[in-house]
C-alpha cells in the first residue's frame, strides 16, 4: 500500500442508483481508474454531496467490478443522513470518490472457498466470488438476511456455486442464522478458506467454527471512519498483540477492512473497556 501511489479523489458519474428493497439501493459508478485498480474486499469513500453536509465521506465496499466498462458497483442501505442523501442522487450526476482503499480479500492458493454473508455484508462477497470462480476455484455461498428481499444478488451468486440461504423470518430458506447451514455443510465437506462479512455476532460465530475446524478465515469489519486513508486512527478495532495492554488497535481503513479471523478481538480486555485518558486530543 505504501509503495503504490494513491489515486487522488476523483469525480465519478452515477450510471445508476436504483432501489432494490425498501431501504437498499444499487449504485453503479463509472470510474475506470478505480475499476482497474480495485481488488475485491476493498472499499471507496463517497462524498455523498458537495459542501459541508455531511462533513465526512461515507465508506462502501466494492460489490462488483467491471474492468471492461470501468463500472464499480455498490449496494448500500439507507440508514442515516448520508445514505439518505446518496439515495436522492440521480444518474448522470457527478459524485466525488476516494479509493480504492484498504486491503482486499486474499484468496491465495485456496481451492475450496466458503463465502459467508449476513445482511449488507453480502454486498462485498460478489466481487471476490466472481474473481475466485474466474481463477478456476470452487466457491460455496452461504447467505443470511432478515427477509428474502435482503438476500442481495441472490441470482448472481447462484450462478457461481452451491448457494445456501437462510432468513430471520423464513421467507426464504430455513429460519436460522447463516452459521447453521455452514456448520452443516462442513460436516460433509471441507473448505480451505472462509471469507465473511456481516454483523459482529455472525462473524463471532464464524470465527469459532473456523477455529474449531482449523479453517483459515478472513472477516471484513466496519467502524466509523473519518479520513479513510489511515491518518487519523479513528477507525480502529482491537486485535490480539503482545503489547503491555495485551492487545493493540488496527485501522479498518488501512490495515483492513479484511482481517484474519484469528487476530480479531471481539471483546476488549475488561480493564481496557474505558481507558479514559485524553478524550480531548
Amino acid at each position: 500500500m505504501l509503495e503504490e501511489k494513491a489515486i487522488k479523489p476523483l469525480q465519478a458519474s452515477i450510471v445508476r442508483n436504483q432501489r432494490l428493497a425498501v431501504d437498499v439501493y444499487h449504485l453503479i459508478l463509472a470510474m475506470p481508474e478505480i475499476a482497474v485498480k480495485a481488488r475485491p474486499g476493498q472499499f471507496v469513500m463517497l462524498k455523498v454531496a458537495a459542501g459541508l453536509e455531511p462533513i465526512l465521506r461515507r465508506p462502501f465496499s466494492v460489490h462488483r467490478l467491471n474492468r471492461e466498462t470501468g463500472a464499480v458497483e455498490i449496494i448500500y442501505q439507507k440508514v442515516g443522513k448520508g445514505t439518505a442523501i446518496l439515495a436522492n442522487r440521480k444518474p448522470g450526476e457527478e459524485i466525488e470518490v476516494l479509493g480504492p482503499l484498504g486491503t482486499g480479500f486474499c484468496v491465495g492458493h485456496a481451492r475450496h472457498i466458503g463465502l459467508v454473508g449476513g445482511g449488507m455484508g453480502i454486498a462485498p462477497l460478489l466481487a471476490v466470488a466472481e474473481q475466485a470462480v474466474g481463477e478456476g476455484k470452487e466457491v460455496v455461498i452461504f447467505l443470511g438476511a432478515i427477509t428474502k428481499d435482503y438476500l442481495l444478488a441472490r441470482t448472481e451468486f447462484s450462478k457461481l456455486g452451491p448457494l445456501f440461504v437462510v432468513t430471520d423470518d423464513g421467507s426464504a430458506g430455513e429460519k436460522a442464522v447463516v452459521s447453521k447451514p455452514l456448520a452443516e455443510y462442513l460436516q460433509g465437506h471441507s473448505l480451505d478458506l472462509l471469507l465473511a462479512c456481516g454483523p459482529i455476532p455472525m462473524l463471532k460465530a464464524l470465527a469459532a467454527i473456523a477455529e474449531a475446524q482449523r479453517i483459515k478465515a478472513q472477516l471484513s469489519l466496519e467502524q466509523n471512519m473519518a479520513c479513510g486513508i489511515g491518518a487519523c486512527l479513528g477507525c480502529v478495532v482491537p486485535v490480539k498483540a503482545d503489547t503491555p495492554a495485551g492487545f493493540s488497535y488496527k485501522r479498518v481503513c488501512h490495515d483492513g477492512p479484511v482481517f484474519w479471523a484469528d487476530e480479531v478481538l471481539f471483546e476488549l480486555p475488561a480493564k481496557m473497556e474505558k481507558q479514559g485518558g485524553c478524550g480531548l486530543e
Binding site: L2, N224, C232, K274
Partner: protein, 309 residues
C-alpha cells in the same frame, strides 16, 4: 507558481508558506504523503508523542456533528522511543526541502512532558516542539493542564529549560479567559502559541441511549468551531507579543486569510485533512489565489490586518 510572496517569519521559525498540518490529522505524514508532495507545505505537525506507547481509546473514536466532527483517539502513539526510531526519520527529507517538521508532545505529568520534549528536541529530528496542554494532569487531580494559568506557567517554564528548539504552546479553548492562559504560556517562555485545540463535547444516540464515542466525550473540531477559534485568536493576538498559529475549522484558503487577518502569523489545518486528502495543498493554493485577486504582494501584509469599527 504565484507572484505572491508566501513566506512568513513565525518567531524564530521561517515558513515557506503559512500553512501547517495539525497534529493528529496527518499521522506522521506517511498517508497524506502518498497523495501529494508534502514539501508544498509550510510545515507538518506530527501526531501526539507520549513517554510510553499508548493503545488509545476504545472505538468508536469518531462521530460526525453539524459542521464538525468529534474525536476521542486517546493519543494512540508508539511512544517517544519508537517515534524517534521509526516515525520521525522518514520526515527528514522534508526538512531538507525547507518544510518544517514539528513534534507534538503530550503527557500526564510534568515529568512526561519534560522527558518527551528533551528526547525529541535532542534527537535533532524536529524543527520545533508543540506542547499539547489539553491533557489531564493525573497527579494534579485530573484537571487539564491547559485550563489553569499557574499550571501552564509552571509547565511551560519547566519544559522550556529542556527544550533546545523553538517551543510552541497549544492552548485549549475550554477556558474562561484564553488571554490569561496565553499570557502565562508567554511568561513561561513559549516562543509561539497555537490555538485552538478541540472543544470538549458529547454525542448521544437517542435510540441506544448511549454516547456514540467509546470515550463518552470527545473533542469538537471542524468548520463548526471556526467562529470560536477566530474570536480566541483575535483576543490572544491583542494580549501577547509572541506570534500565533491560528487553528480551527480551516477548510479553504479564505478561512486561512481570516485567521491571518485576526492576528495569526501561520495557520493550522486539521479536520480538513480528513475530509479531503489534498485539503492542505489546496488551501495553500487557494490562499495564494485569494491574495492575488486582492492584489496583495506578500501574505505577511495581511497578518493582523483586521479593520475594527
Amino acid at each position: 507558481m504565484s507572484k505572491v510572496d508566501m513566506e512568513v517569519q513565525l518567531g524564530p521559525l521561517k515558513l515557506k508558506n503559512p500553512v501547517l498540518t495539525m497534529s493528529g490529522t496527518f499521522g506522521f505524514g506517511r498517508e497524506h504523503g502518498q497523495y501529494y508532495d508534502l514539501s508544498t507545505l509550510g510545515g507538518v505537525i506530527v501526531k501526539a508523542i507520549t513517554a510510553e506507547p499508548r493503545v488509545g481509546n476504545p472505538p468508536p473514536r469518531i462521530a460526525e456533528t453539524a459542521g464538525g466532527i468529534l474525536n476521542a483517539i486517546g493519543l494512540q502513539n508508539p511512544g517517544v522511543e519508537a517515534a524517534i526510531a521509526d516515525e520521525l526519520p522518514p520526515l527528514q527529507d522534508l526538512r531538507r526541502q525547507g518544510t518544517l517538521v514539528i513534534g507534538n508532545v503530550s503527557g500526564y505529568s510534568f515529568d512526561d512532558y519534560t522527558l518527551v520534549t528533551k528526547k525529541i528536541s535532542d534527537s535533532g529530528l524536529v524543527d520545533a516542539v508543540e506542547l499539547n496542554i489539553s491533557c489531564p494532569n493525573v497527579k494534579g487531580g485530573g484537571l487539564t493542564f491547559g485550563t489553569h494559568p499557574e499550571t501552564v506557567y509552571k509547565l511551560v517554564s519547566t519544559v522550556r529549560t529542556v527544550c533546545a528548539v523553538p517551543l510552541i504552546v497549544k492552548l485549549s479553548p475550554n477556558v474562561t479567559d484564553i488571554k490569561e492562559i496565553a499570557s502565562s504560556a508567554t511568561e513561561g517562555g513559549a516562543d509561539i502559541i497555537s490555538l485552538i485545540n478541540t472543544i470538549t463535547a458529547m454525542v448521544i444516540d437517542a435510540k441506544t441511549r448511549r454516547p456514540i464515542l467509546g470515550n463518552i466525550t470527545g473533542g469538537l473540531s471542524g468548520p463548526a468551531v471556526k467562529p470560536v477559534a477566530l474570536r480566541m485568536v483575535h483576543e490572544v493576538s491583542q494580549a501577547v507579543e509572541i506570534p500565533l498559529i491560528g487553528i480551527g475549522g480551516i477548510v479553504a484558503g479564505v478561512d486561512a486569510a481570516e485567521f491571518l487577518l485576526a492576528g495569526a502569523t501561520a495557520v493550522g489545518v486539521g479536520t480538513a485533512n480528513l475530509m479531503h486528502p489534498l485539503a492542505a495543498l489546496n488551501i495553500v493554493q487557494e490562499l495564494q489565489w485569494f491574495l492575488e485577486d486582492e492584489g496583495i504582494g506578500a501574505v505577511a501584509e495581511i497578518i493582523g490586518g483586521l479593520i475594527l469599527p
